[in-house]
Structure formats: structure tokens, C-alpha cells
């Protein structure tokens, strides 16, 4: 006997939980299946950046839509998720880089987006006094900020459950089979579940689900590394990112500073284990050492990596399967999917419930990898 629902969501990250929540908000009964526990991987251990800044142009409309949900996150999930909007700043390290930023901001304006603002040396120093004097300016996105990732994912999960979603943790999907107009999902617990719709939001493991469906994708498993320092005097409020070199930097209210930016460790999908690449961690430390002289006194107390999926073009797969009726994909956020979670969950639920969405998701179609199959 199978348990039946209106939709089965595979994966309990921010995306799976958000989709389950938005399906439940539309009165549907989703079943979410998570092999570990909600927020165990990338969604729970990422840097928590809530960022519209410096996104791929195709992602900008989704990011803007998601930002509207972030700004009323407490109404949506009953928890403010620790979200604080203190801005994000993309720092230019050279004049040439700043020129490139100017072109980007102009391009965004042409498309009608105004969240990114070019700033010169004086405004940069005002926003980020600790930044090295050699930086000529940057871009600020003032409504951006950061939230607490594990708490956020849990809040989405909790609210989804409160609205009638079933969340099953510690169970791995082992097979998907078409059964008339429904999909039948079998699991490691020996149980099975049926629904007309399945959402593949399995993050780094989404490639395995896609392969089970006979729709392989060129998904790369990555393990972006983060490190955190002991408490420092408070010296910075916005999140600071770089583009030329890899860096994302923020300081928490308790004084500890989080250093990330996409340097990769190694991940093992079967054991959930990650291993750090110390040489790249050193590169990360050097970048901070140069950008923020005050950080030369800091001590690193912990470093870790989350397990995440990256697509070859660094943008996610969002939308219906190209080969299987009733299957939807929502993965491959390539280490920048946290901010998109609320918005993409909402559009996914809209797509499933109504058959369409006004947001431009064509660039994220799985068909773009057609030649690789």
C-alpha cells in the first residue's frame, strides 16, 4: 500500500521545503522525502547570504521576486529567520574592475532593474570603513542582507508541516516508476508513495534522481568551503563580496566573521563527508588578509564545506522534465541558491498548480543540456 499525495518533493533543503510550503499554501497535500534531515547539507550550512547583487542576468527576475518574500518572511513562515537587511557590497579591487561594474549596472537599468547602485571610493569607505584603501569603489544592493540558513530551512519545513505537508526524514528515494497517471516512489524504508507530480529538489543528489528518470544532467558535485573566526570587534555591517577573486565576507552580531566565496573542498555523496582543501583555504585567508587589514589579528576556529550541485553554466535547472510527464526539476543552484529558495518554491508551486508562471524560467530549462545526452 502506498501513501498518496498531490505531489512528492524529493529533498529537504530550502528549495524542497519552500516548494512544499507553497504547495500546501495552495491547498495541495505534498509529501517531502529527505534522506537525512531538513537543512542537513548546503541549505543548512551555507553563508546565509540573501543577495540580489551580482547575479546572472537570467536569475535577476527570480531573485527580485524572491526578495519580496524575504522582506515578509516572518509573515510567510512564522519566524524572521534571522534575516537582517544591511546591504551587500561588491567591492572593485581595481579601476578596470570598477569600469566593468559600471557597464553591468547600466545593463540592469536598461532591463528595468534598479537594485544595484554603482558607488565610488567615498561611499564604499562609508559603508565598509575597514576595506583596504586601494579599492576604488563598487556596487551596493541596499536591500540585500543575510539570514540564518539552518533556522530558515527549518522554519519553511515547520510551516509546511503546519499547513498539512508530510515531511519524511531519514528515508532515501530508491526508485521512481510511472503507474498510469501517477508516479510511484519507492524508498530505502521499504515504503512507497504515489502522486501525479514529483519535484526533484535533491541538491547534490539531484543528478541521481534525474538519472533514475533516464534524463541525465551534467551536474557536478561541489563542496564550497567556509571558515569562521573567533570574535572580533564589530567593524562591518554589510556582506562584502568580490568577483575577481573569490570572497564573500560577513560579520555576525556576536563578532565572529564568516569567510566564504566558493573555494571548493571535496565531497563524497555516499558518506555525506566533505574534506577541505587547505591550499584553497589559504588563498581565501590571503584575500581577507589583503582586503581587511583588521582581520590580520583574527583567529580561525572552524572551517567546513557543504555539499551542493553545480551546473556547467552556473545557473540552476528549474521547470518541467523534458522527458517525463509530471516531473519537475529544481536543483543545480551552483552555490547561490539560498536567496532564491522562497521565490523559486513559490513559482514552482504556481507552475504545478496552474501549469504556468509569469516569471521567465526558459533559460533554466533542462533541455539546454540536450546535446550532452
Amino acid at each position: 500500500m502506498s501513501t498518496t499525495g498531490d505531489a512528492i518533493v524529493i529533498g529537504g533543503g530550502i528549495h524542497g521545503c519552500s516548494t512544499a510550503l507553497h504547495l500546501a499554501l495552495r491547498g495541495l497535500k505534498p509529501i517531502l522525502i529527505e534522506k537525512d534531515h531538513a537543512g542537513r547539507h548546503a541549505s543548512g550550512v551555507n553563508a546565509g547570504g540573501v543577495r540580489q547583487l551580482a547575479r546572472h542576468l537570467d536569475e535577476v527576475p527570480l531573485s527580485v521576486a524572491s526578495m519580496e518574500l524575504w522582506e515578509r518572511i516572518a509573515d510567510l513562515v512564522g519566524d524572521d529567520c534571522g534575516f537582517k537587511s544591511e546591504g551587500q557590497v561588491l567591492v572593485a579591487e581595481t579601476e578596470a574592475e570598477l569600469e566593468g561594474f559600471r557597464d553591468r549596472v547600466d545593463e540592469l537599468r536598461l532591463r528595468g532593474f534598479t537594485q544595484e547602485e554603482l558607488i565610488g571610493r567615498a561611499e564604499l569607505k562609508r559603508l565598509v570603513p575597514a576595506v583596504s584603501d586601494t579599492c576604488p569603489g563598487g556596487i551596493v544592493s541596499r536591500r540585500d542582507g543575510a539570514a540564518e540558513p539552518f533556522r530558515t530551512t527549518q522554519a519553511f519545513r515547520r510551516k509546511a508541516v503546519a499547513l498539512g505537508a508530510k515531511v519524511l526524514e531519514g528515508i532515501t528515494v530508491t526508485g521512481l516508476a510511472r503507474n498510469g497517471s501517477t508516479w510511484r516512489i519507492s524508498t530505502s524504508a521499504g515504503t512507497s508513495y504515489e502522486a501525479p507530480v514529483v519535484v526533484n529538489a535533491a541538491g547534490a543528489w539531484a543528478g541521481r534522481i534525474a538519472a533514475m528518470l533516464g534524463e541525465p544532467v551534467p551536474l557536478e558535485v561541489i563542496a564550497p568551503m567556509l571558515m569562521i573566526t573567533s570574535r572580533m570587534p564589530l567593524f562591518i555591517s554589510p556582506v562584502v563580496i568580490l568577483r575577481g577573486r573569490k570572497l564573500s565576507f560577513k560579520q555576525f552580531a556576536n563578532g565572529t566573521a564568516l569567510i566564504g566565496g566558493g573555494h571548493l573542498g571535496r565531497a563524497d555523496l555516499d558518506s555525506n563527508r566533505t574534506e577541505l582543501d587547505l591550499a584553497k583555504l589559504a588563498e581565501s585567508a590571503r584575500t581577507v588578509w589583503e582586503l581587511f587589514p583588521i582581520m590580520r589579528q583574527a583567529t580561525i576556529v572552524r572551517a567546513w564545506a557543504g555539499i551542493e550541485a553545480r551546473m556547467p553554466d552556473d545557473i540552476p535547472v528549474i521547470g518541467p522534465s523534458a522527458t517525463s510527464e509530471g516531473i519537475y526539476h529544481q536543483f543545480g543552484f551552483s552555490a547561490h541558491g539560498f536567496q532564491l529558495g522562497p521565490g523559486v518554491g513559490a513559482l514552482m508551486a504556481e507552475l504545478i498548480a496552474t501549469g504556468s508562471t509569469n516569471l521567465p524560467i526558459a533559460p533554466f530549462s533542462i533541455t539546454r543540456f540536450g546535446s550532452s545526452r
Binding site: H37, G39, G44, E148, F150, R151, T229, S230, S271, R273, E275, L276, L278, A279, L281, A282, E283, A285, R286, V288, W289, M295, R296, Q297, A298, T299, I300, V301, R302, A303, W304
Partner: protein
Amino acid sequence: MTGAAALDDKVDVAVIGAGPAGLAAGALSARAGLATVVLDENPAPGGQIYRAITTTPVQRKEILGTDYWHGRELVRELESSGARLATGATVWSISRDLEVAVSHGGRAHLLHARRIVIATGALERPFPVPGWTLPGVMTAGGAQTLLKSSGLVPEGRVVLAGTGPLLWLLAAQLLRAGGAITAILDTTPRQNYVRALRHAPAFVLSPYLIKGLRMMAEVRRKVRVISGVTRLEAVGEGKLKEIIFATGNGAAARMAADLLLLHQGVVPNVNLAMSIGIVHRWDGLQLCWVPEIDRHGNSSVPDIAIAGDGAGIGGAVAAAERGRLAAIAAVRALAPAAVSGLPAEQAVMQALAKAEAGRAFLDTLYQPSADFRIPAGDDTIVCRCEEVTAGQIRANVALGCEGPNQMKSFLRCGMGPCQGRLCGLTVTETIAAARGVSPAQVGYYRLRPPVKPIPLAEVAAMPQPESAVKAVVRR
């Protein structure tokens, strides 16, 4: 060879920790001709038990006792073996491909080994009673460190509380060094004496029996010992003023004190081993995590062995023998022809068995009471770094937070600089008790490198691997 000279990039065997296990392992491995480095974060070898063995100002032999001075032989063995001893060398990360990251001489180094022996020893078990974070309350081990390294004997009204052989050893050492002890509050649960009886026959053969009895008699002649203590609380405004305690089901009594030294046994220091995912299990007798190892100390990760108390508490003599077994296994793997020049494995195993005789007796007798492992009061601090209380932990369990890692995310407990060394066991056991399941089901923190905090400047200045240098040049 010691000191701050640069470390080699490549060694055959890297031994982490220069206590009895590390010293013995390093000596045998080097004697067999393997390039061996023994890394220890302290300024001198010896570990905790033989701390400052080469440098202690406490030169009257009877103060620290003959067992302490036995450590000198182990250091001599190492010195004459050709092993490199690097002191002030803090290992902050190891990897499954045997890369050892070490902070030494103000710089971070990466060295590659063909085998690693983890000999990181033991830590004192947390003793989370009300007021345990007050100034004026410290661990017995902390007081012993001050005595061994600097010859410091505490003044004023000194009270020792807890259970276990090391509590009595410290008392004896402080008395011999001229110190005074107001009282010992013995928290050994009364029922333990009965439960330990069936292990007594083996203990009778142990060298610890006579020594232990003699030492306890020596202490009892000079110190008031209050047995059967079931409640303990440190009280004071800003610093310790008095101790509230009770025995059995009796009424609370008060005792003025300037210094309270707490101790309830030692547990393996598992942080380094756990940080690379070496499989551990919950030991229901020693009430701690111990790595799964074979009789040579080989762990679940290839080419990494664990020796000494870090592999389960066995004491200093057993630790040295386990170090030797780990070294013999390393030599067999890397230089099999040299095995014949080493002590026979059989003899080492026998020496180990002798040293371990009676361990079950000690473990049963000195198993600390749940009252002192799992705080009954909600206000008692569990995680000192982030000031998380037992009540907060139980409240989060009630909200569905089932393990230490979720607890980390919600409460930040275990996320301070000590990485759970001072709270990990308490958190696991408190969650287990609240959920009514075993500690094994609850699990432990996922531990992250660096296992010891390291200056960002050192990481930033780390030598770049050739590939990275080339990449820069090409650009």
C-alpha cells in the same frame, strides 16, 4: 633533535602527541629507521601525565611520585632513537590522504606522512554543577598542570571534589609539595563499590592496587574526606565563596572555600580523530566515545592508528605499550625487514594486558554519577564558550531538536573555540536523557578543522603548493 627548526615536508611516520603513547611510538618507529616526527603543542614533551617532565621546577622526586619520573625514560628512549621531536607544534588538521597541517614557530606547515599515529590522549570529563564556571573553580588537572610546570601550590582554603584516581593523586602531590587541603568531597556513588566487587580479583593483580591504597591512606591522614557526596554547588558573587553539598539523601551543608578543584575522570580527546570521520562508538562503561580500532590501534581510516588514552582510557603504562604496538604495525607496513630488530609483539601485548588488568574495576568504581554528568537544574551552564544552559538544551529537545548538530545550529553550543571539548559529552548525555534514548543514538558533534584555533595570518602565509604557484606564474 628539538626546537623550532623547519619541519620536513615528508616523513614516514607522523606521531601526534608526545605523551606516553606518542613518545613510545615515535621511539620504536625511528629505531626501525623510519623518518619519524613527534608533534606536540606543549613547550616540552610528556603529555598530561608526564607534563614538563624535562623542565619541571619540582625536583624533589617524592612530590610528583616515582610513576611521574618514569616519563623521563620514555623521553630518553625517544631522544636516542633519531626521531624528530617538535614541541610547540599544534596539529590543527589532518586529512585522509595523510596531510598533516601544523602550526609551528609562528607558521603553518603542511607535511605528508605515510602513516599517522594519533596519540592525543585524554581530557578531563566535564563536571557541570551549578557554579562550575565561577572564578575560583577549576579542574584538578588544571591545578596539576600548574604544579608540574611551574611548581605552583594553591593557597587558601582548597577543596577537591569528585571521583577517580587522579583526584587522589593530585591531593597527595599537593600535600607533599607543602600545600593544605581543607576537604575532599568524594562523589563516588556508594553503589559503585558493590558493582566493582566482581572485578576485584583482576584488580588485585594490578600494580595500581597497593599504590592506590597507600596514596589514599596518606591523604586521609591529613585531609577530611567526606564520602557519598550526591550534590555539589559552587556559590559566590563574581568568585567562589562557598560550596553547598549533601551526602546521600541528607540535608545541604555549606563549606567556605577559596578554590574548588573538580575532577571526575578523564575521557579520550577525540576531536582530531573525529574530524576526519574515524568511526567511534559509545562506551557504556567509560561513558565516552572511543574509536573503533584493532589490536594494533588501526582505525577505520587506512594508515591512521590511534594509541594511548585517545583510544580508550587505559592509563600511562598501557598507553606506552599501545604506542609501541602502533609503531610495530607502522614498521611492518613501511619497512618489514626492520621488524625483527624491535621488541617482540607478543611481549608488548603481554605487558599491555598486565597494565590493563583491573581497568574494569577502576572504570566501574569510579564511574561518575548521572547527577554530576547531566545537570538536573535548568540554569546550569553546559557550553561555557557560548553560555548555553541545560534548560535551553532540554527546551530545544522538546521542540524536536534531536541531536548535538541541530543543537549547534539553534543554540551555538559547541561552536566556540573549544569545539565542544568542554561540553560535548554533557550535551550528548543531556539530549539522550531528555529523549529517553541511548547516547549512541544521539551521536556527537560533527567536528571541523581546525581542531585548534589558528591565526588567519598563518593560514594566509601558508606555503602554496606547486600547482598554485604555477597557475599564478602563467597568468
